[in-house]
């Protein structure tokens, strides 16, 4: 496919000590997709996505980003195309102010000072960081600090964002903000890969789910298909969101036509049937 931005071909990764973390992974992610990568800890999901920005190189097989083999490419080169937002923003933030944090990435990429300022201001607006710009990142509460982590990658203008557990430990308000930002990133043309356990994020925001278990990709399908697969959900210990589970139970009982992934669709589906 012409617009595949990430391609993994028979990707294997073995860590020192013969620890097999990933095997036979074949995957294509198209530009502009929002993809969720899920699985329990130790299933290989972090190993998989760390190949996308060159933090890891294949033990066997190939990873191509925008058609270029990551073997032989340096992390700095890959960082122009793929931005990695860590689960813990403390692993990523080190400047004295939010502004400086936002400027660091593009300056490192050799972007002109004029454009750095432009990108910084765009990021402050996009992530609504106006009141935080001169604060030290560690003076900011955890939920907003996480947004600063995302914003500092945003100023590097990568084509692909990898978000590691973007909503874990966040309250409902920040979680909703993150959902909105992910959709906006896609609207601006970015590809977003979310490593996530947040089932509502997976049900309502992503286009496609890649499920890993025991170092293998065991499913790669649309959320409706993944959440409908009882066996798959049980074998990976994943619990569908409440509406998905409810619609499935009603469907099994012959009372509802199919799975729904969000409350408003389920309300619409029920309203017609209950109204009769």
């Amino acid at each position: 496919m012409a617009d595949a931005i990430i391609v993994c071909e028979d990707l294997w990764h073995v860590y020192p000590g013969d620890i097999l973390a990933l095997q036979e992974a074949n995957l294509k992610i198209n530009a502009g997709e929002i993809v969720g990568v899920i699985g329990q800890n130790g299933s290989g999901k972090t190993t998989l996505v760390k190949h996308f920005n060159g933090l890891l190189k294949p033990t066997r097989g190939k990873v191509r980003i925008k058609g270029k083999d990551t073997n032989g490419m340096r992390i700095q080169q890959l960082a122009r195309d793929v931005g990695y937002v860590f689960q813990n923003p403390n692993h990523q933030l080190f400047a004295r102010t939010v502004e400086a944090e936002l400027e660091f990435g593009p300056r490192n990429l050799g972007v002109s000072e004029e454009e750095i300022v432009e990108r910084r201001e765009k990021a402050i607006e996009f992530f609504k960081l106006q009141e935080l710009r001169l604060l030290h990142p560690y003076r900011i509460g955890f939920p907003l600090r996480k947004l600063v982590g995302m914003a500092s990658i945003y100023t590097m203008r990568p084509a692909v964002f990898i978000l590691d557990e973007p909503t874990t430990g966040q309250d409902n308000v920040t979680t909703r903000t993150v959902y909105r930002l992910i959709r906006q990133l896609r609207d601006e043309g970015a590809t977003v890969v979310c490593v996530a356990h947040d089932m509502i994020l997976l049900a309502e925001v992503v286009d496609r789910m890649v499920v890993l278990r025991d170092a293998r990709i065991i499913a790669d399908a649309k959320p409706k298909e993944v959440f409908s697969n009882r066996e798959l959900m049980q074998s990976t210990h994943l619990v569908p969101p409440q509406v998905a589970e409810l619609s499935l139970r009603l469907m099994t009982a012959g009372k509802f036509p199919g799975i729904e992934l969000n409350v408003s669709d389920m309300v619409a589906g029920l309203a017609g049937r209950l109204g009769k």
Binding site: G141, G169, N172, T174, Q242, E245, L246, M266, V267, L270
Partner: protein, 286 residues
């Protein structure tokens, strides 16, 4: 709860951290009874953790600030009894297990608190064994805490708290750093300790669907105040008021609410809060 014994009695509690200019807790009055499973909900910064730290006397004994009102845990005023004394009746489990694990082995991790209390060695072995059994970690005594999975580490934190044989277990977002298997494990252990061992559980959580299924009572905090306090059905029925302060309700409750508000369809006298309740009602209606 007329006959039940109060284990936590809070009267007009306010607290302002010495580093802050506005209060973290404002005039809270609250009673929690023996054997209850209480969920504490609220946005980050609403005051949940501060309230929990008042229960075992870390506030006001170890964290400085201005405190008004009284907190009694198992009848002991936290102004008069230090955290060391209260540790015998109330255990705290935090969101990140790595913050509280420090020892070389699982057994030593649990022994730590007991040694501080001067428990004799033979008795200590039995307590360690029983505590590990209660959280499903039997036989792991010699493992390093840092080799355990997130869910196991969090269950070890619970076992360490249990070793002190507390009446009350306070948990601050205990599943926010563990994967889905770990979440299931932690919730299951907390529910078992509550049902079988009659331990009072006070848990701060963001997972409203899970809390609706497990908790007897939901306490909602906003900006340092208790704004709702009741059964899951009583509290989650306030869909719009909760949304106003940034909280969501279980999806099935939202579903029933939207059917009523937008389509004038009333599912039942009360909104469902768990999936089983919603399934039962809808199977009858469809």
């Amino acid at each position: 709860m007329d006959n039940a014994k109060p284990v936590i009695e809070i009267e007009n509690l306010s607290f302002t951290y010495s580093t802050a200019d506005k209060p973290a807790l404002k005039n809270i009055s609250l009673t929690i009874y023996e054997g209850e499973y209480v969920a504490l909900l609220g946005l980050n910064g609403a005051g949940k953790t501060t309230l929990q730290l008042c229960l075992n006397a870390v506030i006001p004994n170890m964290i400085v600030g201005e405190k008004e009102g009284t907190v009694k845990t198992m009848g002991m005023d936290t102004e008069e009894y230090p955290p060391r004394e209260l540790a015998k009746v109330i255990g705290l489990v935090f969101d990140n297990p790595e913050f509280q694990l420090s020892q070389m082995s699982v057994a030593e991790e649990i022994a730590l608190g007991l040694e501080n209390l001067g428990v004799p060695t033979e008795e200590m072995h039995k307590i360690i064994k029983d505590s590990l059994e209660a959280v499903g970690l039997s036989g792991m005594e010699l493992r390093s805490p840092f080799e355990l999975s997130g869910g196991q580490q969090q269950r070890l934190s619970i076992a360490s708290a249990l070793a002190m044989q507390p009446h009350i277990l306070v948990m601050d977002e205990p599943t926010s750093n563990v994967d889905p298997i770990g979440k299931e494990e932690v919730f299951a252990v907390a529910a078992k300790l509550n049902k079988e061992n009659k331990i009072t559980v006070i848990m701060a959580e963001h997972e409203v669907e899970v809390m609706a299924a497990y908790a007897d009572r939901i306490i909602v905090m906003n900006d340092g105040e208790v704004v709702f306090n009741g059964t899951p059905v009583e509290v989650f029925s306030n869909v719009e008021l909760l949304e106003k302060i940034g909280l969501r309700v279980p999806q099935v409750t939202e579903l029933a609410h939207l059917l009523k508000e937008k389509h004038n369809i009333k599912l039942a006298d009360q909104y469902p809060v768990t999936i089983d309740q919603a399934e039962k009602i809808l199977k009858q209606r469809l």
